[in-house]
């Protein structure tokens, strides 16, 4: 059985093509049933997200080319595209490469934003659809479960998803670098923008205890305050509120500086030197850059946030290199599992065969043994079985080892092939 994967993703095909190929849940189940015929394409699974459409299948070993053709044709008909049209956008991976590709996709190494967490859920969903459609069999079951394990390993062992890369989450990230934990912190919003609210939401989720909202129109302030269970203050009370705030997010539409160095100095005085983190996401800027000169006050404008993001992306890329190593070693492990799976059943069947032979012999010779008690009969049978097992066990072990490593070690080890010496 070979593993075959074809598909398009955001790197190989523009959205006009991807959207034509996309499957919804129903189309996916339907398509799988059409695709999997039990002869050439034995098992199938479709991963369809906004960034990729991929078909994974287990195909008979000797019909790989034919199988690949069928998968391509299947995509063509789905997208109602002329034959051969997809050729330049399509990638095709077989066996080891297909396994590696799937591992990379699920670990979010192949995503537009490396380390994004959604794709694993999407693969999980694709698998459950295949299970419902009855097109996930022996090979794909193993492969997909192994994939989940790899994705989990990558997530826990590397920092691929450790650093935030969205503006709204930066407040949390920077806050943590200053306050260690945001538990019990007070957040203040000056002006109400969508981004500022989203940032505040993240901060509250990270443990911030209190939200203060200052806005020019008090009605809006009240409204947001209600949303967060916080307090609304007028711009006249700014100084008082600033003294209480640990993290200040500023995003008003004002064309001038709303907060000046004097504000920051006054707040620091009242805060008895406790640090404050000012985040200015408005353009034009609303916080005077001179605020940065005040000790224990940290100011970040939109460009600074962007530069943390690019630094975080670099960190993620560094981590992605490590993730690739994990994927590589897991691919090798899976190849072994696969080899073993091919022979596993036949090894098991061999033992049954041996046992049948023993039982048949016993039946043939039974008459010559004369009348026996029940206990004696059981004893004879278990004696036979144990001889069969004892003899066959080392041989089968040897075979298993042979298939696991993919090579024979007989040449180097002149030991008794039956392994019965000791």
């Amino acid at each position: 059985m070979s593993i075959l994967l074809i598909g398009v993703n955001h790197k190989t095909a523009p959205v006009e093509i991807r959207e034509r190929l996309a499957f919804n849940d129903e189309a996916c189940a339907d398509g799988l049933r059409r695709l999997v015929d039990g002869d050439v394409v034995r098992e199938g699974l479709i991963v369809s997200t906004c960034n990729r459409v991929e078909i994974l299948s287990a195909t008979a070993n000797d019909q790989l080319e034919f199988g690949a053709g069928r998968l391509t044709q299947f995509l063509d008909t789905t997208g109602r595209l002329p034959t051969g049209f997809l050729e330049q956008h399509l990638y095709r991976h077989t066996d080891e490469n297909a396994v590696r590709h799937l591992f990379r996709v699920a670990s979010s190494l192949d995503s537009m934003v490396v380390g994004e967490p959604q794709v694993l859920g999407q693969v999980r969903h694709a698998y459950s659809l295949a299970v419902q459609a009855g097109t996930a069999g022996r090979v794909l079951n193993r492969l997909v479960h192994h994939t989940f394990r790899v994705a989990k390993r990558v997530r826990t062992e590397t920092g691929i998803a450790a650093n935030a890369i969205s503006i709204s989450y930066m407040a949390v990230e920077l806050g943590k670098k200053i306050f260690d934990s945001l538990k019990g912190c007070t957040v203040m919003l000056i002006g109400a923008g969508e981004m500022a609210e989203l940032s505040a939401r993240h901060l509250v989720n990270a443990g911030a205890a209190r939200v203060i909202i200052a806005n020019r129109t008090e009605e809006t302030a009240q409204q947001i305050a209600q949303e967060f269970g916080g307090t609304a203050v007028s711009l006249q009370q700014l100084d008082q509120a600033l003294a209480e705030a640990d993290v200040v997010i500023c995003s008003t539409g004002a064309p001038n500086y709303v907060l000046t160095e004097a504000h920051a100095r006054a707040a620091r005085e009242r805060r008895r030197n406790r640090p404050t983190c000012f985040i200015d996401i408005s353009v034009p800027r609303n916080i005077d850059p001179a605020v940065s000169n005040v000790p224990n006050v940290f100011l970040f404008d939109i460009d600074d946030l962007e530069s943390v993001i690019s630094s975080n992306i670099r960190e993620r890329e560094r981590e992605a290199e490590r993730a690739e190593l994990i994927v590589q070693s897991e691919v090798m492990q899976f190849q072994q599992t696969l080899r073993l799976m091919d022979v596993g059943p036949s090894i098991g069947a061999m033992r049954d065969k041996f046992q049948d032979v023993a039982r048949a012999e016993l039946a043939r010779q039974r008459k010559r043994l004369g009348p026996l008690t029940k206990d004696q009969e059981t004893a004879i049978e278990s004696l036979l079985m144990s001889i069969v097992n004892k003899i066959s066990h080392p041989v089968m072990n040897q075979m298993r080892r042979f298939y696991e490593t993919g090579e024979s070690d007989d040449a180097e080890s002149p030991q008794d092939p039956t392994g019965l010496e000791d």
Partner: protein, 270 residues
């Protein structure tokens, strides 16, 4: 006990290398290796010190070799407490190399020459006085490192460089708290050390003060850390300024530690 100390050095070196690698690569597995080898080294080191004490018959804190070894041991002890309490793993990358160097020097300067003056091995004040002070030095070193980390991280945040340091050093609050706590501990130990020293000296010679350079430096150090602690607790000096004082203060600690070496006086090394 040289072979045992050699094993200690090996463990500390492994810990130092892994701490640095863990710091650079941010690997938990490397950090685990570092922590375990630190612990193994610490246990061996403790054994070595006890063995020294039993075999040589005097408290192992008299000759330069012993002092350095003891100082390294005290640093490891404090480092482990900090690790447990603050989870500031980055500290290892700074302290473990120094600890290794101290152990290495203790190993190569060999066994001390001469014999212990009779007065030292009989009085119980000698071990208390010296142990308190060694731990005070170790605590001030922690203040120093925490202050350096604070200044580095603060610089990163102020200048918005967001380089490797930003991702690897603990938060400002953590290192600030660490420096405050270690400063308090150091000051307490220093006070007790000075008091026991005065008491011992008054028993020996009837005088509590000899205008000895080590004593003067110790007094200056005490004053500096007293000021630092007071300012920190009243919160008028927090963060950057306190951190600078923690760095500069350590120079004074070094003078105190090597005081008897630089200028002769009442104190012998140790």
């Amino acid at each position: 006990m040289r072979s045992l100390l050699l094993a200690v050095l090996a463990a500390y070196l492994i810990a130092a290398i892994h701490s640095i690698l863990a710091f650079v690569n941010k690997r938990r597995s490397l950090q685990r290796v570092a922590q375990w080898s630190t612990l193994v080294g610490f246990i061996l080191h403790t054994t070595a010190l006890i063995a020294d004490w039993v075999i040589d018959g005097h408290y192992p804190l008299f000759f330069p070799r012993e002092t350095l070894s003891f100082l390294a041991w005290a640093l490891v002890a404090l480092y482990q407490v900090v690790l447990y309490r603050y989870r500031a793993q980055a500290l290892g990358a700074f302290t473990m190399p120094l600890i290794s160097v101290l152990t290495f020097i203790a190993l190569i300067i060999g066994s001390g020459s001469g014999v212990t003056p009779a007065g030292f091995s009989t009085t119980w004040l000698f071990p208390i006085h010296t142990t308190l002070l060694i731990f005070a030095y170790a605590a001030f070193f922690i203040v120093f490192i925490a202050s350096v980390m604070y200044l580095l991280q603060e610089r990163e945040l102020k200048l918005k460089t967001f380089g490797a340091i930003f991702h690897r050093l603990p938060s400002l609050t953590t290192v600030n708290e660490l420096a405050t706590a270690a400063g308090g501990v150091g000051l307490t130990l220093l006070t007790l050390g000075i008091v026991t020293g005065m008491f011992w000296s008054s028993i020996r010679t009837g005088r509590v003060w000899h205008n000895d350079p080590k004593e003067i430096f110790a007094l200056l150090t005490w004053m500096l850390y007293f000021v630092l602690t007071v300012y920190r607790s009243t919160a008028s000096w927090r963060g950057r300024r306190a951190a600078w004082l923690g760095v500069i203060g350590f120079a004074l600690v070094l003078c105190t530690f090597f005081g008897a070496r630089l200028l002769p006086g009442y104190h012998v090394f140790g």
